[in-house]
Amino acid sequence: MSKASVFYDKFERHSHGEGLKGHATHYCPGCGHGLAHKYLAEAIDELGIQDRTVAVSPVGCSVFLYYYFDVGNTQAAHGRAPVVALGHKFANPESVVVSYQGDGDLASIGLAETVATAQLGAPITVIFINNAIYGMTGGQMAPTTLMGQTSSTSPSGRNEYNGQPLKMAELIAGLDGPVYVERVALYDAKQRIKAKKAIHKAMKLQMEGRGYSFIEVLAECPTHLKMNPEDTEKWVKECMEPVYPLGVKKDLTVDPWFKRNAPCFKGEKILSLAGATSEHPERHCKGFPTHLAPNDISLKLAGSGGDGAQTAAMLIARAAISEGFDATHIPSYGPESRGGTSYADVHVAEDEVLNPGSPDPQVLIAFNAPSLAKFGPTVRKGGFVIYDSSVVTDAPVLDPSIRMFPVPFTGIATDLGKAVVKNIVALGALQAATNIFPKDTLLGAIRTALKDKCALIPLNEEAFAWGIKSVEALDK
C-alpha cells in the first residue's frame, strides 16, 4: 500500500537514530500504533476528508499523533480526548473528529469521559489501542492487563486484588449511544485487513452523521511485554484474544441524523429570549417615596417555600425599576426544594442600591408566625410590619413606633379560589400600608409578569384590591 498523503512528508520528532529522522515514527519496532496510524491515514485519504479531520492526540505513546497526521491536530489532557473531541465536533459539526487513545487513557483515567461520550452518541470516532500495558510511563499495569500478566506495578502478575481486565468494546457496545463497535487485531494479514476496514467504516459513519463508533485494536507492545515482535503477535493471538474476543460488537443501521444549523447571531432574537423590550413602561411616581426613607428603602419578605415571597419581592423590584429607581432582590432559602424557609431582601434606592442586604428592614412582610417572630424584632423603629393574620394568631410585641398590619393573606386568597395569590394580597396591603409606590406601579409590574398568562390578570388584580381594602379597613 502506498504511503497515504495524509502523513506529513516529513515528521517532526525527537532523535531516534540519525537516519530515521523525518521518515520514521517514534514507535518501537513492532509496535501496533504504526499500523493503526496507517489504516487511519488511509481511511482519511480514501474518504477525502483530510481538510475536515481533527485528530485528538491523547496522553500515552500516541501523544505525538500530531507529528504524523497532516490534519488539524489537538493534543488533550490524559483521558480527556473524547470530550475534547466533542468540543471540536460541536464547534464545527462539519469536522470529522478522531479521538485516538490507549488503554490507560481511555479505560482508566478517562473512563467517565469515555462512557459518557459513547452514550451521548454524537458522531465521533474513537480508536482504542489496547496493548494490555502502559507504554509511555514504562510498563505498568493497565486496566486491560491480563490476569497473571506481570508488569512493573503487578510484578507477581495481575491477581484478584488488582481486579479483572476491562473489556471495553463489550462495555461500550452495551450502551445505547454508539452505532458501531468492533474489536480488531493486527497479528496477521487477515486481521489487519479487518482492522483497516473497521477504521474506514468508523470514519465513514461519522462523516455521514450516523453516530459514534468505537474501534478497539488489540495491539502489540514488544518493548514492555519484553518479547520480540513475532512473539508479541503470537501473544496477542493466543493470550489476549481469548480474553478480548474479536469481532463486531454492535452495528446499527442508522439514518444520518447529526445535522446542526449554524448558530444564530440575530440581536432581536436574543433580546426577545431575554424578554427585553424598547417600550417605556408608564411611570406613575412623582418622586422617590421619601416619606419612607431619604434614598434607600429596605424590605424583607419572609415565609415558607410556596408562599410566593420571592415572586412578591421580584415584583417590588421590577416596579421600582420601571419607575426609574434602582432595586435589588436577594432570595435565600433553606436547603429544601419545597416547603422550607424562603426569605427575600429587597432594596429600593433613588440612585444606586449600595447595600442590598436587609438585616434591619423598614418594612417586613411575614407570611407565617415563625417568620414574624424571627424578623419582627429586626424591623427599624418607625417601620412597618404586614403579616398574614390568617395564620398568625399571636403577633409578638414590637417597638411601639412600628406599625402593625394584620391582613388575612391566606383567607382572602382562599376566598378568591386560589391560595397562591396570597402574595398579591400582601402586595396590595404593602401599597396601602406604606404607599411605597402608586397602585398602578405595582399593578403594572403584576400585569407585565402575567403577560403570557393574561387569563390570570383579573384574579390578581382582585387579590391586590382586597389587600388594599383590608388595610384601609384596619385604619377605620
Binding site: 521518515h23 514507535y27 496507517k38 462512557v115
Partner: protein, 466 residues
C-alpha cells in the same frame, strides 16, 4: 484480480526498524532479517529478495512505518534526511494553506429598557451577547441557574449546551471548542472550579480562550452553598499546575455580571488565555437592574484555530514542549503575556480622594462596604471604598492612589484573608512598604460581613485615632 495489479514493495533500509511483521505476511518467503546492523540507524533492517514476489501487497499492509515498505514507484525517491527536519525546515512541510484571521463582527443591538434579572442570568446574557454559543457545564449550586438559562436559550439560537459528565469533562469540552477557535464558557461554583483546574492549566499552556464564571460558595470541602469569597487564591495563584495566570474579574452587581462577562470574552481572545469571573453566591442570586449594551458580537475564527477545515489544517493545539529550552521559551512567552495583561487592571475608588479610612472589598461585600462608607460619611468620618474589579492583575496603582491619605485600611471580605493576601502581595511587589496597618472585617462559612460589623470596626477605633 485487483491484488495482482499492485506494485511490488520497495524498502529504504534506513526507514526499517526490523520489527519483522512483514516476514510472515509474505507467503512467498521473499523477506528475511538482515544479519547486518545499519550504521545510520543502529537497527537491523529486513532484506528483500523479490524473485518470487507476486505483488500481493500484504507486506506493505503489515509494515507499521508510513515510509517503510512502500510501492516501488514511491520508494525509489530516496529523500531521507540525516538532519532533524524540524531544525532543517522550522515548520512541518505541508501543502496546507497559511491561515488568516476571520475577524469577529460588532453588530448593533436595539436600545431596550433595563431588565430586572439575577446575576447568573445577567452573566449568561452577557455571554450570548459576546457571541458565545457553546456552553458546557455540570450542575452545582449556586451557579446552576446560569447553565439552566443557557440550556433553555441556546437551542433556540442553534447553539450548543451540553451537560457534561463532570467538571473535568466540562473544561475539556471547552478545550475542544476553544481549540476550534470559538467562544465557550461554563458556570461553576467552588468545588466544581477545583475540579476544572487541571483543564485550566492545559488551556493556559495551549493558549486557549474560555470564560469561567465561578459563583463562589463556602468551603473547604463540600462546605455549604452560601456565599463566600473562597476562590480568590485559586483564581489568582492556583490555576492548576505550572506557570499559570489568568485575568480574574470580580463583579459586584448584576449589571457587572453582564458587563464583565462580555469583557471576559474580549480579553480571553485578546490574550488567548482563560479569564475567570469570580462572583459570590449572593451576587449570583441577586436580582437587579441590568441595562443591555448597544452592540453584540458575532465571533470570527482566529488564525490559530483547529476548526476542522482546509484553512486551519496546519494548526496544532498543544501544551507539550518536549525540549527544556522550548518549554522555557514558551514560559517566557507566557510571562510576557502576563506582563501585557497588567494594563487590564481595573478598580473603582468611591470617595477615596480625601479618605482617612479606606475600606477595601470586592463582590457583594463591596456593596455592603459602600453602604458603610455612606453611613460613615453621614457621621462625619472621611471614609472611602477601594474596590478592585480585577483581582489579577491587581490594580495596585489605583490602590496606591486610593490609600495615599489613608490613616486606616480596613479589608472587608467573606474569606479568611484571601483578598488581604492579594493586597499585601500587590503592595509588596510594587515596592510599597509603608502603609497603615491592615485591619479586617472577615466572615466565613457563608456569612457575609454586615454593614453594622464594618461600622463597629471603624467606629470602635475612632477614639484611638483621636
Amino acid at each position: 484480480m485487483a491484488l495482482k495489479e499492485r506494485p511490488k514493495p520497495y524498502l529504504l533500509p534506513e526507514y526499517c526498524k526490523g520489527c519483522g511483521r512483514c516476514l510472515d505476511a509474505c507467503a512467498k518467503d521473499c523477506i528475511h532479517l538482515s544479519d547486518q546492523i545499519n550504521p545510520l540507524t543502529g537497527l537491523v533492517p529486513v532484506e528483500l529478495d523479490l524473485t518470487n514476489c507476486n505483488a500481493c501487497g500484504l507486506c506493505m499492509d503489515a509494515c507499521p512505518e508510513p515510509y517503510g515498505l512502500r510501492p516501488a514507484h514511491e520508494g525509489e525517491i530516496q529523500d531521507f534526511e540525516l538532519e532533524d527536519p524540524a531544525k532543517l525546515f522550522g515548520v512541518k512541510p505541508s501543502d496546507a494553506p497559511e491561515p488568516v484571521d476571520m475577524p469577529s463582527e460588532v453588530l448593533p443591538l436595539p436600545r431596550t429598557e433595563p431588565l430586572v434579572i439575577k446575576g447568573t442570568y445577567a452573566s449568561a446574557l452577557g455571554a450570548l451577547l459576546a457571541g458565545c454559543r457553546h456552553v458546557y457545564g455540570y450542575p452545582i449550586t449556586p451557579s446552576t441557574e446560569g447553565a439552566e438559562l443557557m440550556a433553555k436559550f441556546l437551542p433556540k439560537l442553534d447553539g450548543t449546551f451540553i451537560q457534561a459528565v463532570s467538571e473535568v469533562a466540562t473544561v475539556n469540552m471547552m478545550y475542544g471548542t476553544a481549540g476550534a477557535g470559538l467562544p465557550t464558557m461554563t458556570f461553576t461554583s467552588s468545588p466544581g472550579f477545583s475540579l476544572m483546574l487541571e483543564g485550566v492549566s492545559y488551556m493556559i499552556g495551549a493558549e486557549l480562550p474560555g470564560v469561567f464564571v465561578d459563583v463562589m460558595r463556602g468551603g473547604p470541602g463540600l462546605g455549604n452553598i452560601a456565599p463566600e469569597q473562597s476562590d480568590i487564591k485559586l483564581a489568582c495563584h492556583g490555576l492548576g499546575h505550572g506557570n499559570t495566570q489568568a485575568i480574574t474579574l470580580a463583579p459586584s452587581t448584576p449589571q457587572e455580571m453582564l458587563d464583565l462577562t462580555m469583557l471576559a470574552f474580549e480579553l480571553s481572545f485578546k490574550y488567548r488565555n482563560p479569564v475567570i469571573l469570580l462572583g459570590d453566591g449572593y451576587l449570583g442570586q441577586m436580582t437587579g437592574k441590568v441595562q443591555l449594551p448597544e452592540t453584540m458580537i458575532k465571533p470570527g475564527i482566529p488564525k490559530w484555530a483547529v476548526y476542522g477545515d482546509a484553512m486551519h489544517r496546519k494548526n496544532v493545539i498543544t501544551s507539550i514542549f518536549l525540549t527544556e529550552s522550548d518549554l522555557e521559551a514558551h514560559n517566557v512567552h507566557l510571562n510576557a503575556k502576563y506582563e501585557a495583561m497588567q494594563v487590564e487592571a481595573r478598580a473603582e475608588s468611591f470617595l477615596c480622594d480625601d479618605a482617612e479610612v479606606v475600606l477595601i472589598a470586592c463582590n457583594t461585600p463591596a456593596r455592603t462596604a459602600k453602604g458603610a462608607v455612606q453611613e460613615l460619611r453621614h457621621q462625619g468620618i472621611k471614609a472611602g471604598l477601594f474596590r478592585p474589579i480585577t483581582l489579577w492583575p491587581f490594580p495596585v496603582e489605583d490602590l496606591k492612589a486610593a490609600i495615599q491619605g489613608a490613616q486606616r485600611i480596613v479589608v472587608v471580605e467573606a474569606s479568611a484573608g484571601q483578598l488581604e493576601d492579594e493586597i499585601r502581595l500587590a503592595l509588596s511587589k510594587a515596592g510599597v512598604h509603608q502603609f497603615p496597618e491592615i485591619e479586617s472585617v472577615r466572615r466565613m462559612g457563608g456569612v457575609l460581613p454586615q454593614q453594622s460589623e464594618i461600622m463597629t470596626r471603624v467606629l470602635g477605633r475612632k477614639e484611638v485615632l483621636a
